[in-house]
């Protein structure tokens, strides 16, 4: 009886302060708090995405009215040798750079997983390629690849490995190799530090138990380390593949897609066509071609990740 006497006036107070009650409700606070993020993402991601689809289906030059042309831009792209070369380049670039980053990133993570003096400082130094503006560190690489004053050539000559300087960025194949190496250089720290975080969660007792059971180092890596870091590895791969596939800055600084359009990736070709030449429809079509490919990659990796 006592409780009802207490709750009745309380409810009355609440009724008179309906507005305050509304403000205190989870759902109203929730929507209000999510609104700014949703607004920005809708305005600058969801809407441009729809606009991009419209652009890619139109003949749309800067400053002119768009004309709907259906899939013409995509069809014309598929016939263009520069575009098909670009598709091929992007796959090679992504695959080769990812393998390099995976192998060397894992190796570096295993090295850093040792205990040694100055570990914090060393780990911090290894992340530098990842945190320094990519364009600026890539400029240093451009200078290292310079046709006449390349310090890499100087090393190779010094070691007696070559007689004449190599034109790193002047030859289509060497240029592809060069941009792949620089991408790997920049991405290895991200793999290494993330994998290291994964390695540190593995209990030392597991390795000791395995060693007692007679497992050698290779077996311990194969049956303990790999399965334990697999979830981390998959997440790192997911982001790395997306970023590498959609890379722009590195190629823009090193080759601008040259020599003779032989090192373009989707993003640099889209920039060339859409921004430099002002053909928005073609440019949007080129960059949107990445979308279905990325969706497939993401879905496969996420399904794999969920299984773990």
């Amino acid at each position: 009886m006592l409780t009802s006497e207490i709750t009745l006036p309380k409810e009355k107070v609440y009724r008179t302060a309906k507005w305050r009650l509304f403000l205190e409700r989870d759902s109203s606070i929730g929507y209000a708090m999510v609104a700014p993020a949703v607004l920005i993402l809708t305005l600058f991601i969801a809407y441009p995405f729809i606009l991009g689809i419209r652009m890619s289906l139109s003949h749309w030059l800067v400053g002119q009215e768009p004309v709907f042309v259906g899939l013409q831009n995509f069809i014309r792209n598929a016939d263009s040798t520069i575009f098909t070369r670009t598709v091929q380049n992007t796959f090679i670039y992504t695959a080769a750079a990812t393998v390099l980053k995976l192998v060397f990133g894992m190796a570096l993570a295993l090295v850093l997983n040792n205990t040694f003096r100055g570990k914090g400082l060393v780990r911090a130094a290894f992340l530098l390629p990842w945190i320094i503006p990519t364009v600026l560190s890539t400029l240093a690489w451009l200078w290292m690849f310079d046709a006449t004053f390349s310090v890499l050539n100087w090393f190779l000559r010094y070691l007696g490995l070559i007689q004449r300087g190599i034109s790193w960025l002047g030859d289509p194949v060497l240029a592809m190799i060069s941009i792949i190496v620089v991408n790997a250089w920049r991405g290895i720290p991200f793999f290494a530090i993330s994998l290291l975080a994964g390695l540190q969660t593995i209990s030392q007792e597991l390795y000791e138990a395995a060693a007692i059971d007679g497992a050698n180092a290779m077996q311990r890596f194969r049956y303990i380390t790999l399965p334990m870091v697999k979830p981390v590895l998959l997440v790192v791969l997911l982001f790395s593949i997306i970023w590498t596939f959609a890379d722009f800055q590195l190629v823009y600084v090193l080759t601008r897609g040259g020599p003779a359009n032989s090192t373009h990736l989707f993003a640099t070709l889209a920039y060339q066509v859409g921004v430099v030449s002002g053909s928005l429809g073609d440019g949007a079509a080129i960059s949107l071609t990445m979308f279905p490919i990325l969706v497939v990659v993401v879905v496969i990796l996420l399904m794999y990740l969920r299984k773990e």
């Binding site: 992340l127 100087w154 921004v275």
Partner: protein, 279 residues
Amino acid sequence: MRQRPLERILLFHLPLWFFLIVTLFPFFWMFITSIKPNAELYNVRMNPLYVLHPTLDHFRYLMRETIFLTWAYNTLYVSILSTAISLVTGIMAGYALSRLRFRGAGGMAVGIFVTYLVPPTLLFIPLADVVRAFGLLDSPWSLILTYPTFLIPFSTWLLMGYFKTIPRELEECAMIDGATRLQAMIKIVLPLALPGILSAGIFAFTLSWNEFIYALVFLSSTEIKTIPVGVVSELIRGDVFFWGPLMAGALLGSVPVAIIYSFFVEYYVAGLTAGAVKG
């Protein structure tokens, strides 16, 4: 496990030094070039790793002949504002999605994660048109408002993880004592989530400082460019490369992020690995 000395050299010291040299050489090269006089820079007979007469000429050139300091100011301005916007919206969204029960919360969380997977180069052409429609082309606000598109998803996800580790009981006690939901969030939860907020902030700041393609496409006037775009587009003219000033600019443009990073390494690494380890 104990390693024999030879094993430790082969499996630890050798690879460690190999990785260190490869990782750091480009930065050394950047530095040595920036203090080398032109006479030594373009002399093929010299050992390029030495510098005989170090000089600050290239830095002087950068300060006098280019508006590097203006670019630095622009970069700082854009980075701070876009980081602030992203942190505030990210904190609110992260808190709401991890703590409050409302219809569509799960869907929104997934939606925000999906936008995190969208690379900026996928949408830059239509986005330029949106920016133009808002009358923001060639204005720093074109960057301040679009950088959050890749900063908010990241901050929201990182902070959702942090908020989930803070026990609900703390807020519930405060609310029983008469605090409103917002007071409980600001006075109880936010101070506890400070490491996460710091991680997200450092991360967002470096990402904005380093951003290139939006700044390249949306800005055209020299005096509002950011460092990455200014250095690449104004110091490289045609086929003529002024390597001294270029490397001086690259070095100076890298120093601010490197300093901030060195103070907050632990938070940066925590942010970097949080997604990977917890996700």
